[in-house]
């Protein structure tokens, strides 16, 4: 192994690590705020990548019907809830808006010729389709059981993951897809050719991490979310709605997931079931951070990416074994060094 190979492997590891880092942050955020281990995080990645590819191919995006179905289910459960309370059924404007949004989006997609649009608009359309899924899933599946033990939340998360993978197969088919790169430029250095897509991935990840940092430290909503993560009961006493906190964290999770999907799609082919393994590696990053620390989780995710790249070179047979075995020493170290405080269940 010489310097050049080490550099290329390092570059590869950092690209993957950057994506894992984003997912690790999002898994961590959702877990601390809602106690849900977001297994379906990977589906947002796969859906983001595949929706972008479908738009570029000029084919109809069938996934938008999932949005419509979830919106109808959401409206229905709101109405049921109102019927049970004394105030009776009232059609609120937010309810109408929630129903109108996916239908308007479906109509727009039907009339637009998405293949001819600039790439930035395609990416924005993809986000418009995928991101609302996050809050919708929270409203339908997690909000009604928000106070259940975390084991039940985990089981529901697995169920949602399995269902979404099946829906992905229906919506996108079994074939893989990749998208055209954001820009074709390559930068030649003495030892290394830097692909511009690399810069896009790393740049966007860093930018997103900075934006998240500012959001959590400088804005009132970010602080509210942080408060809910630190102590749910305390935050509730201070007037922070747990429903808002849950929906907001799921919104961020689907946003980060879909963005990661759009970023990674030009580099590799994504299949309807690719998301799980990608988010699992992000999850290992989050474990390294002890499921509490954001900077440690990001560092952990980068380590996973680098380890993956170098073990693929040295022992390609055992690449995944090496990466997933990493979790054991960290869990041991974590449980030996940290004091475990039992939170209210």
């Amino acid at each position: 192994m010489d310097m050049q190979i080490a550099l290329i492997l390092g570059q590869d590891g950092i690209i993957n690590g950057a994506i894992y880092a984003l997912l690790a942050l999002s898994i961590l955020l959702v877990f601390t705020v809602t106690r849900v281990l977001l297994i379906p995080q990977g589906e947002f990645v796969a859906f983001g990548a595949l929706t972008m590819a479908t738009l570029q191919a000029g084919e109809p995006v069938k996934l938008v019907w999932l949005l419509v179905a979830l919106a109808i289910a959401e409206a229905f459960s709101e109405l049921m809830l109102m019927r049970r309370t004394a105030q009776g059924i009232r059609i609120s404007s937010s309810l109408v808006l929630k129903l109108a949004y996916p239908l308007a989006l479906a109509a727009a997609l039907y009339h637009l010729n998405a293949a001819t649009l600039p790439m930035l608009v395609q990416a924005f359309l993809t986000l418009l389709i995928i991101v609302p899924l996050g809050p919708q899933l929270y409203r339908l599946f997690f909000q009604p059981i928000a106070n259940a033990p975390s084991l039940i939340l985990l089981i529901v998360a697995i169920a949602v993951h399995v269902a979404l993978v099946g829906i992905g197969l229906l919506a996108f088919g079994p074939g893989g897809a990749s998208t055209t790169p954001f820009s074709e430029a390559n930068f030649e250095f003495e030892l290394l050719t830097l692909n511009s897509q690399t810069l896009w991935v790393v740049g966007t990840s860093v930018l997103l991490i900075v934006v998240l940092y500012v959001f959590f430290n400088r804005t009132i909503y970010g602080k509210a979310l942080r408060a809910a993560a630190v102590n749910r009961t305390g935050a509730r006493l201070m007037g922070i709605s747990p429903v808002f906190a849950g929906k907001a964290s799921f919104f961020l999770a689907s946003l980060i997931g879909a963005l990661s999907g759009i970023l990674i799609a030009p580099i590799t082919a994504i299949y309807f079931d690719s998301g799980f393994l990608i988010s699992l590696k992000g999850f290992i990053g989050a474990i390294i951070g002890g499921l509490v620390s954001y900077p440690l989780a990001a560092v952990g995710a980068i380590i996973v990416g680098l380890l993956e790249a170098f073990s693929a070179f040295w022992a390609s047979d055992y690449k995944d074994v090496i990466v997933f075995t990493l979790i054991i020493p960290f869990l041991l170290w974590r449980s030996l060094t940290s004091h475990h405080v039992e939170e209210e269940e």
């Binding site: 690209i15 893989g176 082919a269």
Partner: protein, 384 residues
């Protein structure tokens, strides 16, 4: 009372429908296809093809019961057990994946049900054991495909070869076959790498391959993931020749690969280049009929994986009349007779090639079951 009435009605309808199906079909064939899960690209055309199989053979009606195993080997075993105990099937077609088929063999053999496996790995029929006697395989053995590829390498002066395959039974078996054949023909295998079907990057492996400076690279992976190493090698500036296995023989390969797979050489059944094959090829008409029937029903061309199930249907259709002469369908004697009839299949022309089964060879393909194909201007082109 009012509440029980619909339930009662439902029960009687179900009972009636059960009675009617068991009364009408004289022969039952179970089909297990992975139409969901990771192997869905293989399983969906197979499930679709099951609906095109002959429903009347030698005056006997044949019913096909299709179940999905979600690409999960445990679910395959459950599905097969269910088909055997509840439906009392006379034969089994499937499952779609190699690990799934390996897990099912034991149960098919114990129940004495002939099993036609449309899977890639030769391990389902080789080495022949007491249990594998019940298994027949409707895809080309890796050796037949590898023979053609290595012969092409020898002819074109390839001296050093790098191999990269998936870390699953498909890639493992190819790795073994290629090492052995290359040694025999004096080709040196300078790198042997593995990757996962779900990998998003193979940079490490490709760097190692480029470092070994091979004349050619052989990639063995089932389905779309076969493109990944080739694209990565082209991106890194590798200029040698690429060989692919019959695992890459699907339209997705061209769609995902684009310009990067131009000039790739692979050996596969004639399905890919049907209109370019000489009319004298025995399989041409059978394959064309299948493609036409599939297109008419589903509006798209079938992947070769579907043809493997179609061939299983043709093998059964040829064996059923022989077995029906010896025993009554639905009995263990009939199933045993069916197995014997399948084993003595001679010169059966099917979509993939011509089958000649023997007690030792339950695959039965010869060189008529493969064509050398290249990618030219983004299309599959027959190599002369």
């Amino acid at each position: 009372m009012l509440k029980t009435l619909p339930t009662l009605a439902l029960c009687s309808i179900t009972a009636l429908s059960l009675l009617s199906t068991s009364a009408s079909a004289q022969i039952k064939v179970g089909v297990v296809a992975s139409s969901t899960g990771p192997v869905a690209s293989v399983g969906i055309p197979q499930k679709n093809t099951a609906a095109l199989l002959p429903t009347t053979v030698a005056g006997l009606s044949v019913e096909y019961i299709t179940l999905d195993d979600a690409s999960d080997p445990t679910a395959s075993v459950t599905a097969v057990k269910k088909l055997i105990s509840e439906q009392k099937i006379d034969a089994l077609i499937g499952p779609s994946g190699s690990p799934n088929a390996m897990g099912v063999i034991q149960f098919a053999a114990e129940a004495g049900v002939p099993m036609l496996a449309p899977v890639g790995t030769a391990s389902v029929v080789l080495p022949m054991t007491e249990q594998k006697k019940w298994v027949f395989k409707t895809t080309q053995n890796d050796e037949i495909i590898a023979d053609a590829l290595i012969a092409h390498m020898v002819k074109n002066g390839v001296k050093t070869l790098a191999f990269i395959g998936t870390a699953d039974p498909y890639g493992e078996n190819w790795s073994k076959v290629v090492e052995a054949l290359a040694l025999k023909h004096g080709i040196k295998v300078v790198a042997n790498e593995k990757y996962q079907r779900s990998d998003t990057s193979v940079t490490g492996q490709t760097l190692k391959i480029i470092g070994a400076k091979p004349d050619a690279v052989l990639i063995a992976a089932p389905g779309g993931p076969s493109v990944l190493p080739q694209a990565a090698l082209v991106d890194k500036g590798y200029k040698g020749r690429f060989y692919q296995t019959h695992g890459a023989a699907l339209q997705d390969f061209l769609k995902l690969g684009g310009k990067k797979v131009e000039g790739t050489i692979l050996a596969a059944s004639l399905m890919l280049v049907l209109d370019q094959v000489a009319d004298s090829h025995p399989s041409k008409k059978v394959a064309a009929d299948y493609v036409a029937a599939y297109e008419q029903k589903y509006g798209q061309k079938p992947a070769t994986f579907g043809a493997n199930v179609y061939d299983a249907g043709l093998l059964l259709a040829a064996a059923i009349p022989v077995a029906a002469g010896k025993a009554k369908p639905g009995t263990a004697e009939f199933r045993a007779a069916l197995r014997d009839a399948l084993e003595s299949t001679k010169e059966l022309v099917a979509t993939q090639g011509v089958y000649n089964m023997t007690p030792a060879d339950h695959c039965g393909f010869d060189e008529r079951g493969r064509e050398l194909i290249t990618v030219k201007n983004g299309q599959w082109t027959l190599l002369p």
